[in-house]
Amino acid sequence: MTAAIDIHHLDKSFGRVKALDGLDLRVDAGTVHGFLGPNGAGKSTTIRILLGLLRADGGRARLLGGDPWGDAVALHRRLAYVPGDVELWPNLTGGEAIDLFARLRGGTDPVRRDELCQRFDLDPSKKGRTYSKGNRQKVALIAALASDVELLLLDEPTAGLDPLMEAVFQECIREVKDAGRTVLLSSHILAQVEVLADQISIIRQGKIVETGSLTELRHLTRTSVEAVTDRPADGLANLAGVHGLRTADGQVRFEVDGDQLAVVVRELGDLGVQGLTVRPPTLEQLLLRHYGDRLVGNGAGEVA
């Protein structure tokens, strides 16, 4: 499979702040790639380097086979971008902005543009300064989705959308994927990435700390187990890979490492299991494992 995005050891500093610290990222063509991380981890910086808006200090980045800085204009014809904070021109209407973006990129399908305006319930005759954050976001999304491009770079694209519009957005991304296009979807909204992404990369402090499919990543983390057994199950605590076991009202709860699950389930059977709930890890838990130390240390100390 060819790579739409191929990044090796990218570095970027702003003054003394190291925004990217040897970042590696590969996005296969035709996939939806979730780019997950807390605010300030380097997601937007990576995307801005891919757009040629920032120049990397070191490393190598290839975008659709080209150089993001040198071939910026040619590459931009083949991609569309939605920033996290969409700002519009106060005295241009939303419709004018959509058309303008489309024309500057090289043209769109007007039927699709109108259809998207309807689906996203956007009034294109309002002036930019009268739109709410969510509506500005819709303008940028419609402009991007209406264009016939190979790659969509979406930087937290649904931050201001309500759940209904979020559902429309997910539908649109599935259509994009069915059409064989590539999507890089940056987010800290885990549920969204979970639903849409084929592959996920987790970025932390300018480095990719995990990458793989959701299934692959689940092996890396712990599964939550709740069980009711005939005989006391306290002995399970001595098994390798079992963590945080506690018993209450005849029910045992614990977490187990992904690769030890089979052993533990066999053991539960021997203990005469009557009820069993096994929950796969959510992306929250995946993240908690990577940022857990920090969350415990200073819960709210996140850098915006």
């Binding site: 300030g40 801005r48 808006l53 700002e87 005295n91 419709g95 024309r103 500057l104 990129r105 005759s125």
Partner: protein, 551 residues
């Protein structure tokens, strides 16, 4: 688990529409801890500056008498006032009657900006919503803003009165002059109390109130001109809040009663503001926002046309303002010539008539003035580029197939073409006005050439500003030094006796002030080439740097 009665604070009293005004006022004073002293000290200091400047210009009674000719002319009336007691001129009469106008204008601005800042701006940003959710009445915000403005107006009145008294002028007249300045602030606070109800946007509110200020200036200008000439509609002055303050005739008739009109006007407009505010929803305006075209016009398709679309509103506004200003200044050519016949030599020299040809000197100086004004347009246009970038609107454009060179080049081209266009408009306005005033149609051609000849100098400023923006965006404000120096070198060189090579540091000192001096073709070519080189350097610098903006 607990036996104590739950402690609950019950609402005390019923609360009125102005509940919370006191708290809001304290909060506004805290927010304006620098702004309030800046205004209330700034206006008296401006008056002090005028007083000190006049002392140096008019050191003998003869100097003062020489000024009378100018101030009693229609031009003097337009830019000064009705000229009470100018037939027996004293320093204080001249200060109040001629320079006082600019302090009155400043007070009007202070009043309207303060009210807009603390009402509509707060509502627009959403901060007022948080405030109103507390124990704050419907009218508390407006009441507190008007109270704050009143406090500022009273402070300005007292300080100006005290300052003028301390210079040895009549105490009664000084206090009256101070009060007349404060009255203008109140009148325009009242007007702003109405305009903030009309539109959702603070800029529209201050723009509408500012237009009223401009209209007040023009109305009393026309009325005062008629009064000085002794014929025509001098009653026009009585339609203007600025006019009421000037009609007090401080140091001459010392009439207090015109200020009663100003106070009644302020009270009526403020009351109207309250009534209107009760008829609209929070955050909304009485005038609903108009929808625009749902599709972009077909010509709006590339970086160049897009740049034009963004600068279009500004170009239209500047064109209109320069045309009006041009016609106005042009039509004073003849009255000015008449007025200057007996003016002191220093003043003639300042007004550009040093070589003896007063007409050519005046027209040449107006060309330079317009060039400096168009220079302001160019610098503001480059500053708007920086705002585009830092506010995150450039980023999505550069993420399309628009190259950096095309983006900055498109804007540069539009502004560069706007420069000769605006000079042409200003020159045409001046020319038509001057030709009509003097009856010499040939002046139109002279003025068009004289204005357009400054194009390369403004281009040089534009090129330098763009290079600063492209290479070191934070340094962009430095460009104002060039314009400021251009102003000083152009106007005050004869007084300051600057040496020739120091003078020539200003880009505006090379082309020549036609028709007083010939246009230097060499300078035109050199300045154009230099401006082009700066623009080229700007484009390549912009291609190298990181784009700012966003988180």
């Amino acid at each position: 688990m607990t036996a104590t009665t739950p402690h609950r604070t019950t609402p005390v009293g019923t609360g009125t529409a102005v509940t919370g005004t006191g708290n809001l006022l304290r909060f506004m004073l805290r927010r304006d801890r620098f702004r309030l002293p800046a205004w209330t000290l700034g206006l008296p200091l401006l008056m002090t500056y005028f007083a000190a400047a006049l002392d140096t210009i008019a050191q003998t009674p003869e100097d003062l008498a020489g000024l009378t000719a100018f101030t009693s002319s229609p031009a003097g009336a337009l830019f000064g006032g009705p000229g009470f007691g100018f037939d027996d001129l004293t320093i204080e009469r001249f200060l109040a009657g001629q320079y006082g106008l600019y302090v009155l204008l400043g007070a009007g601005l202070m009043g309207l900006l303060t009210v807009v800042r603390h009402t509509r701006t707060e509502e627009r940003t959403g901060r007022a919503e948080l405030v109103r959710a507390n124990v704050v009445g419907r009218h508390a915000q407006l009441t507190a803003a008007l109270t704050l403005t009143t406090v500022m107006a009273v402070l300005v009145a007292l300080l100006i009165g005290a300052m003028m008294t301390s210079r040895g002028f009549d105490a009664g007249g000084s206090m009256l002059f101070g009060a007349s300045v404060g009255a203008v602030a109140l009148a325009f606070a009242g007007i702003a109390a109405v305009t903030v109800q009309l539109s959702e946007y603070p800029r529209a509110a201050s723009g509408t109130a500012g237009t009223a200020l401009g209209a007040a200036f023009v109305l009393r200008g026309l009325g005062d001109m008629a009064a000085v000439q002794g014929s025509g509609p001098s009653w026009l002055s009585w339609l203007s809040p600025i006019g009421w303050s000037q009609q007090t005739a401080a140091y001459v008739h010392d009439r207090w009663w015109p200020l009663a009109i100003a106070l009644a006007f302020a009270a009526t407009t403020a009351a109207t503001g309250y009534v209107l505010s009760a008829r609209r929803d929070f955050g909304a305006g009485l005038v609903p926002p108009r929808p625009g075209p749902p599709r972009a016009a077909s010509w709006l398709a590339g970086p160049l046309t897009f740049a034009f679309r963004l600068h279009r509103a500004s170009l239209i506004g500047w064109s209109a303002a320069l045309l009006v200003a041009g016609v106005a200044y042009g039509s004073f050519t003849q009255p000015l010539l008449d007025g200057f016949e007996n003016a002191p030599a220093d003043l003639v020299e300042v007004m550009g008539g040093g070589s003896g040809d007063l007409l050519a000197g005046y027209l040449g100086m107006m060309g330079l003035t317009m060039a400096l004004v168009v220079g302001v347009f160019a610098v503001l246009a480059v500053q708007s580029l920086r705002a585009e970038e830092t506010e995150g609107r450039t980023e999505p454009v550069l993420a399309t197939s628009v190259s950096r060179a095309a983006w900055i080049g498109g804007h540069l081209a539009v502004v560069a073409l706007g420069v000769p266009w605006l000079l042409l408009v200003a020159g045409a306005g001046m020319g038509v006005g001057a030709a009509a005033s003097t009856g010499d149609a040939g002046l139109l051609g002279d003025l068009l050439v004289g204005h357009l000849a400054h194009t390369p100098a403004v281009w040089l400023v534009l090129g330098a500003a763009t290079l600063l923006y492209a290479a070191a965006p934070r340094m962009l404000p430095v460009i104002w030094v060039v314009l400021g120096y251009g102003l000083i070198a152009g106007y005050f060189a004869p007084i300051l006796e600057l040496p020739e090579n120091v003078l020539r540091l200003s880009p505006f000192e090379h082309v020549g002030e036609y028709p007083l001096e010939d246009v230097s073709v060499v300078a035109v070519v050199l300045l154009t080439v230099l401006a082009g080189a700066l623009a080229q350097a700007a484009v390549s610098a912009f291609r190298r740097r990181d784009l700012a903006g966003g988180a």
